[in-house]
Amino acid sequence: MDVSALDEASLAGSAVDIGETMQAIAEHKGCGASGGSGKASCGSQAGQGDLPTEIWEKVKNHPCYSEEAHHHYARMHVAVAPACNIQCNYCNRKFDCANESRPGVVSEKLTPEQAAKKVLAVASTVPQMTVLGIAGPGDPLANPKKTFKTFELVAKAAPDIKLCLSTNGLMLPDHVDTIARFKIDHVTITINMVHPEIGAKIYPWIFYNHKRHTGLEAAKILNDRQLQGLEMLTERGVLCKINSVMIPGINDQHLVEVNKAVKSRGAFLHNIMPLISAPEHGTVFGLNGQRAPTAQELKALQDACEGEMNMMRHCRQCRADAVGLLGEDRSAEFTTEKVMAMDVNYDLQMRKAYQAKVEEERVVKVAAEQEELAELASEMSDIKLLVAVATKGTGLINEHFGHAKEFQVYELSTTGAKFVGHRRVDHYCRGGYGQEESLATIIRAINDCHAVFVAKIGGCPKSNLLKAGIEPVDQYAHEFIEKSAIAWFKSYLAKVQSGEIQHVERGEAAIRQGALISAA
């Protein structure tokens, strides 16, 4: 794929214009620098923006549907749906789906009753958990009885929890009315292609109408059903997110077309995820050496699609039994054994009080950013750069460099700070051994960034980062991410203008392929 061409196109489309900048600020920060008239909304970024109130109410505390919410609210998945009805070349069913669940570890299968108890246990312990999703480990709609029974039990016991599901779409048209009846507001459909020729390279077979179908026929049935299901859901006002796995050389360029197809059918958000592919996962793609995209290729494709609709860039491709904020995994605290032993007291008032506090914090955070941004508006510069941030959530720079499991990546320009992705890294600070190598892994993961914002950092990693050309920034410890990043960017621009430093482009960064094993 000609990534550079894509990248140039997206850069050209976002040349800095001061009038445009002021407009963007007046509109309370849209969905990114590139703007675009065809966009459905601005749900993936900061505030309500130009979203209709009724949609904003649906997404404002859904961590997967709102980038801004994902700093504050948590989700959980329950693994009640083990069976699947299609075969994907990026999946090995000996484990969970390698791409939409973390590879290498099998989810603990739950009955609907166990799942409901688990939801209540988590909701009582983690008041910011607002969303229950069923995402597998197979396909929820290949296990409709267990899936809908779970939703029924949870809706009865914890009516404030939003319900969502994630499906390959094959059986979707048959269940659309049930989905609407159960008030499942959010449905994610994984659509990797809209041409059977491409689909045949991704799906060896599907099981449909009591028959195994292969090749072009299989891909055609699957795609027809996916698009039909999408249309039926959007007609009924259900918000739809489309997941696509970016497979270099197979569907990477094609995903621009997929983006148009789903946008025209009313999809709300498009989530293009990098292929996860390593031989040890035992998938067809892992074994035949199919490579994953680089962080730059992924971002270029996301940028190219963004003019068409909202892009999700904060997906962590989490497991079918994940619990917690995106990017954290607290599932080990809630194993079936532990949950069944818990005495659960579901306190709706406590949850509401906690969430009201979160909302207050969000308002303060956005106000702080706006204030900082107002000054930036007078700056004139074409410079656009990336910075990495170590955070534990709540929108603050509050993680020690050595404790970070991931870094969030923001793109800074005179239009402000825009979340554009995240990079997983190993724990660097394990002490004792392997520190040099871990540090090298981190540098590879954030090699495209000019600076890394941390709450604290030791002397040794500091000097190694500087040697790699990445500035460690700890002066904004425990402050808001966007406000701090914009403040730092202003001083960076000032230094460039005064000739104190020279602005240079950074190199490529790698997307880490290993499995996130621990919940430590």
Partner: protein, 74 residues
Amino acid sequence: MPFKIIASQCSGCSACELECPNVAISEKGGTFVIDPKKCTECIGHFDEPQCVAVCPVDNTCVVDTSLPRYQARA
């Protein structure tokens, strides 16, 4: 000859259990087993054995050659 499931290859996903027209499949210790007395090889129900068609691991639902073929009653 009814079908059987090779336990060492079974991923325990339960897809076959949901599809079996004879309710012949059940879970046993994390994997699934076919009751040979109930298995009809899907004759009279479908064109192909459902467990074979839906199983995500190839060659896991196989014909049990140690048992006689299923005879559809006239």
